[in-house]
Symmetry: C2
Subunit: 121 residues, 2 copies
């Protein structure tokens, strides 16, 4: 396994309708670039993995526990283990980065698509 990957060579995973992730996994963490369709909804959910994220482009409305905020490029979130969170993309969709520790081993059961051109960069 190489130390280097290109996003356009990583097979995408459908996390939820409208949420397509390209993820790389390690011993301690998972890094994912997620493309979100315009107005797509991430239903409220939670997981034991701590999660941090960053908007790369576009916008979304994010809720973490009892806090909520409109986020644009350069804005971040942090979600403690077990905290419920949900999101809704803006009218132009979004590309975001999400990182998790420990790794999202549960994603191994998701179906992958063929590699395809990412929306970003």
């Amino acid at each position: 396994m190489s130390a280097f990957d290109r996003l356009d060579e990583v097979a995408p995973l459908q996390l939820f309708p409208g949420f397509l992730a390209r993820a790389i996994h390690g011993e301690e963490l998972t890094l994912a670039v997620v493309e979100i369709d315009p107005d797509a909804d991430l239903p409220e959910h939670h997981h034991a993995n701590e999660q941090f994220g960053l908007v790369i482009s576009g916008s979304l409305h994010f809720r973490v526990g009892d806090e909520e905020q409109e986020l644009e490029a350069g804005e971040t979130w942090r979600i403690s283990s077990g905290t419920p969170h949900s999101a809704r993309a803006g009218a132009d969709g979004a590309v975001v980065l999400d990182v998790f520790a420990p790794p999202r081993t549960d994603w191994q059961s998701l179906a992958t698509s063929e590699p395809q051109s990412p929306r970003w960069p």
Copy 2:
């Protein structure tokens, strides 16, 4: 502590000459956006933290163990615990994302600057 942060409100840290990081820390991981000056050198080093990264803009030459590659936006690296790595930014510098697990608690001893406008977004 809010679940949400804006990069322009995070005090930057000088990691090495020419490497300015804005970092957020959790229980399990650290997420940092790092601005790298043109042609700046990251000297070879290693740490126990697993490290993944992604080029957001610009370019750099990256070496991980005995692999090396030119990287541009959308390309990633993964560095196992303890693996030596080094990098050199391209002629236009770079903005990259680095994530670490466990968190970079050693960065708490670095001096922070006043918040200032980030180069990206």
